[in-house]
Symmetry: C2
Subunit: 245 residues, 2 copies
DNA sequence: CGCGAGCTTGATGCCGATCAATGCATGTGG
DNA sequence: CCACATGCATTGATCGGCATCAAGCTCGCG
C-alpha cells in the first residue's frame, strides 16, 4: 500500500507491436501488419514499474490506456468510507485503464504486484486511429465488452458461490490465462497475498488460507506458500459447477 | 421467468432522437442537432415488449444495442450449473446489450419488468457512424466505461457490505436515477420482486424482506409491498458510508 | 370468491468473520 | 553470521449474520 515514490521511468526504446510476442493477446489481435504499423506509431512509450508502484491512482487524470508487457497488476476500488475491493488481476497482454474513460479520471488504483512494464497508449490517439481502422475499432469495442462480461462473472461468483467454490473458480481462471500465455497450467506462483485474493473473492484472508489447506488435504492442490501445483483440475471444475443453489 | 412467446412487435412509427425527451440521458448526449439527425437515420425501429418478455437471451446473436424508451428491465446471467444472478436494472435512457459485442452473442437475458419500449440501434451502423462523428464515438466509449465502473461498484457492494448496507445502497442508487428522470426522489414503486432484489444484492429474499421491515421500524422508510417512501435519506446514506470494514 | 404469486415473520443452524496465537520466510543491522 | 524485526500464512476457538426451513399473510386476478 505504501507507494515507494520512485520517479516515473519512461523507456526510450521503441517496441513495435508488430514484433511483440503478445500481439495475439493484446490490442493488435486480428490486425494486418500494415495496420499494426499504424498502431506502432501511437504506442510510443513504455513505462517500468517496481513492485508496489502505482501505475495510476483513483482520481488521477485519465490520458492513456496501458497494455501489460511484463509483470502482474491488481486493480482496486476504494469507497468513500475506506472499504477496499480488488476488482481484478492483470497479466501480460491485458489492458488497464478502461475505467477512466467515462469521467476522464481513473476510478481505481492499479498497482504492480511485481516489477512490470506497460505500453502506454494515449487514448485520444487511439480514438483517432480507430476512426480510421475499423478492425481496430471493432477490436477495442470487443475488449471493453469482454471486460463487462468478465465483471458479470465476478458478480455471479460474489453473489452466489461459497468460499471454496470461489477459490476454485479463481484458480481455474488463473491457470487458464497462464496457459494461453504458454505457461504450465498445473504449476503456478501466486503474485498476490492471501488478503488480496480474499478481497477479490469477498472473503477474509483466513478463509482463503483455510480453503487452500482444505484443497491440499483433499489432494486437489499442493500448496507451499505462494507456490501452487494443481493436482486435480477436474475436482476444481466440479466444485465450481457444483452444488449450484 | 416464463417468456410469454408473444411475437416481436416492431413499431412503424419513427421517433427522432432529436425530439426525444431522453436525449439528455441517452446516446445522443452532447451531440449537435445535425449529428442527432445522423443518429436518427440509424435508429429506425422501436420494439415493444410486454411485462415478462425477453428483449434478448443469453446465447442469441448480437446485432443491436437497445435504448430503453419506456419501462423497466433486468438483466441476468446464468452459470452452467444453473446459478442465477441479476446483474442490473435498466430504466429509461439506459442502454442494453453491451455484453454481446465481445462474442457477437448475448451473454445475459434482458427481461422487461413492465410493459416497455426500446429503440433498436443496429450495432454495425453505430460503429460506422461513430467513425464519422467523433463526438458520438467518444460518448459511446464513455457509456461502456461507465458500465465497467458501475460493475466495480457492485463488486464492492457484494464483496464488503452487509445486508442492510446493500439494500440502502440499492435504494439510494434507484432514487438518484429516478430523480434524474424527473421523478420524486422520495416516493417510488419497485418494479422487481424481493427475490430479484436479493439476487442483485447477493441476498436471499427473506433477508431483503427483513431489511425492509427493519428500515420501516427505524423510521427510514415506509414500506407497503412495492410502494416505498423514503423518509430519511441521510440515515440511508449513513448506513452505506457506515461501519466500513 | 378462491387461487396463487409474492411478501412477511419466526425458529434454527451453518458458514465464514473475528479474535488470537503460532509458524515461517525474508531482510536488516549489530 | 546471528538476532531480531517484519510481513505473510496457518491454525484454532468462538461468535454472529445470513441462509434455510416453515408457517401464515396480502393482494391482484381469473
Amino acid at each position: 500500500m505504501q507507494a515507494s515514490p520512485s520517479p516515473i521511468r519512461l523507456e526510450p526504446f521503441k517496441v513495435a507491436c508488430s514484433s511483440c510476442n503478445l500481439r495475439e493477446l493484446c490490442l493488435p489481435v486480428g490486425m494486418s501488419t500494415e495496420q499494426m504499423q499504424r498502431l506502432d506509431e501511437i504506442v510510443s512509450a513504455r513505462r517500468s514499474l517496481a513492485r508496489g508502484d502505482a501505475l495510476f491512482r483513483s482520481g488521477s487524470p485519465f490520458t492513456a490506456l496501458y497494455a501489460v508487457r511484463t509483470g502482474f497488476f491488481k486493480t482496486n476500488v476504494t469507497s468513500e468510507d475506506g472499504r477496499d475491493q480488488v476488482t481484478g488481476f492483470q497479466m501480460a497482454g491485458e489492458l488497464l485503464g478502461l475505467d477512466g474513460i467515462g469521467t476522464e479520471r481513473h476510478t481505481c488504483d492499479a498497482i504492480a504486484l511485481e516489477d512490470s512494464q506497460v505500453c502506454v497508449i494515449p487514448f485520444n490517439l487511439l480514438e483517432d486511429l480507430s476512426r480510421e481502422l475499423s478492425d481496430l475499432q471493432r477490436h477495442f469495442h470487443k475488449i471493453m465488452s469482454r471486460e463487462i462480461v468478465r465483471d458479470h462473472g465476478v458478480m455471479l461468483l460474489l453473489g452466489s458461490m461459497r468460499a471454496e467454490e470461489r477459490l476454485a473458480a479463481f484458480l481455474l481462471n488463473l491457470t487458464q490465462r497462464l496457459r494461453k500465455r504458454g505457461f504450465s497450467a498445473s504449476s503456478l506462483v501466486l503474485r498476490m497475498t492471501r488478503e488480496e485474493i480474499g478481497s477479490y473473492l469477498g472473503l477474509k484472508l483466513e478463509t482463503v488460507s483455510r480453503a487452500f489447506s482444505k484443497f491440499q488435504e483433499d489432494g486437489l492442490l499442493e500448496v507451499k506458500q505462494r507456490q501452487i501445483r494443481v493436482l486435480d483440475v477436474a475436482a476444481l471444475q466440479a466444485l465450481v459447477n457444483g452444488s449450484g443453489t
